[in-house]
């Protein structure tokens, strides 16, 4: 679900090479142009918020994985703290003009800027559930932690449903 621009470059290159190999046609110029537009339309804010959000996703996976298997409370604690810390930070990286419709390589929908109260409320829900997860982890009780997985996950999904482009199947 994460963009890999090096792959994009490589694949356009290969697509161009295929055309060259098969019919001797030159598709190289067009491929280069597309790549440059993508590069220019992608401010740093997108990379920063994506890194923070991906960190949360990975940490949440760690929690669920640990609950399924070893139940290593230290790993769970570290992961819950990562989620809690990143949740407070990523929200500062949504400047105007960094939505999907700007052409940048992001899934952030215009609704983020059209409905700032809704976005803030969805973010608050995440902060609340994330704080509850840190509390649950503090008890050291795997069942208490397990019970907080779904509410926390729903607070992620809740925001994705409304504010992120998501062609779920």
């Amino acid at each position: 679900m994460v963009s890999r621009r090096p792959m994009a470059f490589a694949l356009t290159g290969i697509a161009a090479a295929t055309l060259l190999a098969s019919c001797g046609d030159s598709a190289g110029d067009e491929a280069v142009e597309t790549a440059e537009v993508e590069e220019a339309g992608e401010p740093d804010a997108i990379a920063q918020r994506q890194e923070l959000l991906e960190g949360m996703g990975d940490a949440f996976t760690v929690i669920r994985e640990q609950l399924e298997g070893d139940g290593d409370i230290e790993a769970i604690t570290a992961a819950a703290n990562t989620i809690n810390a990143n949740a407070a930070l990523f929200i500062d990286h949504f400047p105007e003009g960094t939505s999907m419709s700007s052409g940048a390589d992001t899934e952030a929908l215009d609704t983020i800027w059209e409905d700032p109260e809704g976005f803030a409320a969805a973010h608050q829900r995440l902060l609340d559930e994330s704080a509850k997860m840190v509390e649950a982890v503090g008890t050291g009780d795997l069942e208490v932690i397990g019970a907080q997985v779904m509410p926390l996950g729903m607070s992620c999904g809740n925001c994705h449903d409304t504010f992120r482009y998501d062609d779920e199947a």
């Binding site: 679900m1 963009s3 792959m7 290969i14 090479a17 994985e65 399924e68 062609d167 779920e168």
Partner: protein, 230 residues
């Protein structure tokens, strides 16, 4: 698979690729960019549909590697390392002509098929239910397994790209240096006889139909969550 009529044209033509092999090959060529594009642009419904089609084609090609015509069969082109080295040594002298895959190309086929098989398999389990789309079998073998499959799915695409690039480089090398056109035969199924000995041994078309039903059936079954297994 009825190219008999085309053999009337002046230079003697010899059949080398049957229709199923060509359909698989060009299907891969079409589907790989589609799968890349749909993933990059978050069109995951289409990504999964195209992925299911790729899974069906890969499964078909594997079955065809056992029961297809002589040039399609793994037993006909998978050779040991000594045969590969011996073949590579002939390249300096213009390349030893083979009816079908040469010993080096045979391994290119195997690696690409294996990578695409691994890619479609990992795709069935990839994703995160709280974070966008998930493969149809995502929740069946545990969070840890799904997370590993997701990582592999993202990483292995680069391997596929690398081997596709090598494949294209080899085709270009054969065209420019060895003056051997490989693309046209993959479209028409025939090439000039030249110094190539032997014939492709075809098999009846019904075998392809059976393989297609089996491969398509398994792919659709996986797409719908592998009922009965999970």
């Amino acid at each position: 698979m009825s190219e008999e009529s085309t053999q009337a044209s002046s230079p003697v033509q010899v059949r080398i690729w049957d229709l199923p092999v060509r359909i698989c090959h060009w299907g891969f060529v079409l589907l790989l960019p589609v799968l890349w594009w749909t993933a990059e642009n978050s069109e995951m419904r289409w990504h999964m549909r195209a992925g299911t089609l790729l899974l069906a084609l890969v499964l078909f090609r594997i079955l065809w590697g056992f029961v297809g015509s002589s040039t399609a069969r793994f037993s006909g082109f998978v050779r040991g390392p000594l045969a590969v080295i011996a073949y590579l040594r002939t390249i300096g002298k213009g390349g030893d002509k083979t009816l079908g895959h040469n010993p080096a190309g045979g391994w290119s086929v195997m690696v690409l098929l294996l990578l695409m098989a691994a890619q479609t398999f990992s795709g069935l389990f990839a994703g995160d239910p709280f974070d966008g789309a998930t493969g149809p079998l995502n929740e069946e073998l545990g969070i840890g397994f799904s997370a590993d499959m997701t990582d592999w799915h993202e990483f292995a695409f680069n391997l596929i790209l690398g081997f596709v690039a090598l494949h294209l480089a080899a085709i270009t090398f054969y065209r420019l240096v060895l003056k051997d056109r490989l693309i046209t035969p993959m479209i028409t199924g025939t090439r000039e006889r030249g110094e190539i000995a032997g014939e492709m041994a075809p098999v009846p078309a019904w075998r392809a139909l059976v393989c297609a039903v089996l491969a398509g059936g398994v792919a659709l079954w996986a797409y719908y969550g592998a009922p009965g297994l999970f």
